[in-house]
Symmetry: C2
Subunit: 327 residues, 2 copies
C-alpha cells in the first residue's frame, strides 16, 4: 500500500491512497482525513485502507483520480518526532574527515542519532529556501521509516513490527554552520533546516523481497543538476538497521505514532564506483584525490533529484525534486 | 487568560479555559477542541477564548466546573517543536564544570539551543519512569513560551509578538547518559527523555507587570522531597530573553504554531542565596565547597515540585509535582 498527503491548503494535507504504479489515487475522509490521523488509529484503519488500495490497484474505484507528484506535500507535512541516524559509516568517516573530527567512540557498537526538528517539512517539489549562500547548503539522500506507538525500552526484535511505512528523505544540511554549531556541544539546530520527503510512503510488504524487515535493498539515486552523482544501495553497509535505530531512540522514552526515523545519508564503502548521496562526501573524495574540493555547495537555481527505482525500473516512492531559491 | 488540556483519553486532551485563580474551568468545543487546534487558528479564536475567560472569571458561565490540576495533561501533550535554550549562564557554568568541559565559544553572544523531542510529554502530576537508577535522573525547572507561526529569519523585535503563551517545564535529564552522549557530537537524545509542563499556560498579558515582553520577573520555586532547594528569579541573569531565543531558533527555518521554546534551567548568579533549579548544580556547588557531591540524583520515590507564585503568593501556572517510579 502507498499513501501520501495532497496539498489542500490545510496544515496536514489530505490523505491519499495511491496505486502501486503511482498513476491513480483516492481520498476517503470516512476512513482517515490525514496520514497522522491514520497513524493515530493504525490498528483500526489499516484493513480499510488496504481494501481501498486493493480496489484502486484493480482499477474499480469510481472516485479515483490521476496522481500528480507535484501536488503532494511530504507524507507528514509536520510530525511529532524526527530522529535521524547516521548509520552508513562510510558517510560518517568522510564528513567527519571534512570537519576535521575523529569518529565517535563505539561508532560500530552504538548508533548515532540526532534529534531533528519536525515542525515544518518542505514538500517534495518545493524550493529549498536559502537566505545566505555562505551557509554551505547540501542535500542528503536518506531512507526513513514511520512507526506506530513504540513503548520505551523496546527491543530490536519488537521494534521491527512497529515499522508501518517507508519513504525517502532529503535531509537538507547547512555545512558551514554545522561545524561551529556542533563544536558548541548541543548538536544540530540551525544547521539542519526543514527536510523534504518523497511524495508517497509505502508499507514494508509492498516492497516485497526488497525489504528484509530492517532495511531496503535497492539503490537510491541522486541527480545533481541533472547529472547522476550517486546510486549506492541502501541495503549495503547500513551498519545499524531500522529496528536497531528505533530501539536506540526509544531507550529512555516512548515514541508516538507518526515518529519518523531516518537512516542517515546512504553511502557504500565502494563509493568510488557507486557515487555519493550528498555533496560533502563528493567534496571530501575530491580533497583526498586532488588536494581540494572542486564541487561547490548548492546555490540558487541548483536542483537535486532523489529517487529509488525497483528491479523493473519503476519509481517506488516518486521523486524528490527541489531547486534552491534565494530568499 | 489561562489555558490547559484535560486528560480525556485522547492523544491531545480537551482544551480548558481556566479562571485566573485556577478554581474554575470550561470546555468550548465549538471554539477549539484542543490547544493545538486553538494555536493553529489563533487569530480566529483568540477573541472568542478571551471572551469566555472573561465570563468565567466573572463567574457567570453555567457550564463551568471545578478545576483540578491533577487531572490535567501538559498543555500540549505532544507538540511539533520543542527547542530548549540554556540561557542562564550561571547554570551553564556549573553543569559544564561538573561535566569537565569549558564554556562554549561566544556563550555570551550566541544563544545555545538544543532540539528537544516533542512527541510524548509527561503530565504535570505524572510519575517520571526510570528504568535504570544509574542513569542519574535530574529535574530542571524552566520557563517556556509557546509561539504561533514564526517566519524564517524573524528579528528579535518581531519575535516578541509571536509569544502567545507562557508555562513552566520540568526538563527531565539523565546526567550519567549525558556526558558520553554529548561527547559523541550529535547533542542530546537518550539523555533528554520526556519533559513535563505546568497544568496551565497563560497569555503574557495575564502576567501583568511581571512580564516585560521578553522574560518573566518572578521567582521559580523547586521543592525536592518537600524541601525548598531553589527560588531563583526567572527575570534575573536570563542572558538571552525569549525573543532572542526565538530569533535564533528561526534563523534557518520557520517555526510552526505550537512551537515550545524553553529558557533552560533557571539560575541566578547569587545561587548561594537563592538556591538551584536542578540537582546537578547543587552537586557541583557541594563539590566546590566540600570536595564532593553529597546530594544523590533522583531515585524511585523521590518527588520534585516546581511552582511559581506571584506577588500575592498565588500560584500562576499550577504545580508540577512528579514522583520517580521504577519501571
Amino acid at each position: 500500500m502507498k499513501l501520501g498527503s495532497l496539498k489542500d491548503g490545510t496544515r496536514d494535507g489530505k490523505l491519499l491512497i495511491v496505486s502501486n504504479d503511482l498513476k491513480l489515487c483516492v481520498h476517503k475522509a470516512s476512513v482517515a482525513k490525514t496520514l497522522q490521523e491514520a497513524l493515530d488509529n493504525w490498528e483500526e484503519v489499516e484493513s480499510s485502507l488496504r481494501k481501498i488500495a486493493e480496489d484502486l490497484n484493480r482499477g474499480v474505484l469510481k472516485d479515483s483520480f490521476s496522481f500528480e507528484e507535484k501536488k503532494m506535500h511530504s507524507p507528514l507535512p509536520r510530525a511529532y518526532q524526527w530522529a535521524d541516524g547516521s548509520a552508513y559509516l562510510s558517510h560518517m568517516r568522510l564528513v567527519r574527515k571534512a570537519r576535521g573530527v575523529d569518529m565517535p567512540e563505539f561508532s560500530n557498537q552504538i548508533p548515532l542519532i540526532y534529534q531533528g526538528g519536525s515542525d515544518s517539512f518542505l514538500a517534495p517539489y518545493e524550493n529549498i529556501p536559502l537566505a545566505n549562500p555562505e551557509w554551505g547548503l547540501d542535500f542528503e539522500a536518506e531512507i526513513c521509516v514511520i512507526t506506530d506507538d513504540v513503548p520505551m525500552g523496546v527491543t530490536k526484535e519488537e521494534a521491527r513490527k512497529h515499522i508501518k511505512l517507508v519513504m525517502l528523505c532529503n535531509d537538507v544540511s547547512l555545512r558551514m554552520i554545522m561545524k561551529p554549531e556542533l563544536e558548541r556541544g548541543f548538536g544540530f539546530f540551525q544547521s539542519k533546516p526543514s527536510s523534504a520527503f518523497s511524495p508517497v510512503c509505502v508499507t514494508p510488504d509492498s516492497l516485497g523481497k526488497n525489504w528484509d524487515g530492517g532495511k531496503i535493498h535497492l539503490p537510491l539515486t541522486s541527480y545533481f543538476n541533472g547529472e547522476k552523482v550517486g546510486s549506492p544501495n541502501a541495503g549495503v553497509d547500513f551498519y545499524f538497521d531500522f529496528p536497531t535505530l528505533i530501539s536506540h531512540a526509544a531507550k529512555t522514552r516512548p515514541l508516538v505514532a507518526g515518529s519518523i526515523i531516518g537512516s542517515g545519508t546512504v553511502s557504500n564503502e565502494n563509493y568510488k564506483e557507486v557515487g555519493s548521496s550528498c555533496l560533502a562526501e563528493i567534496r571530501m573524495i575530491e580533497t583526498i584525490e586532488q588536494g581540494a574540493p572542486r564541487t561547490a555547495f548548492m546555490k540558487a537555481g541548483d536542483e537535486i533529484h532523489i529517487e529509488m527505482f525497483d528491479g523493473n525500473n519503476k519509481s517506488v516512492f516518486g521523486a524528490i525534486k527541489q531547486k534552491v531559491a534565494k530568499v
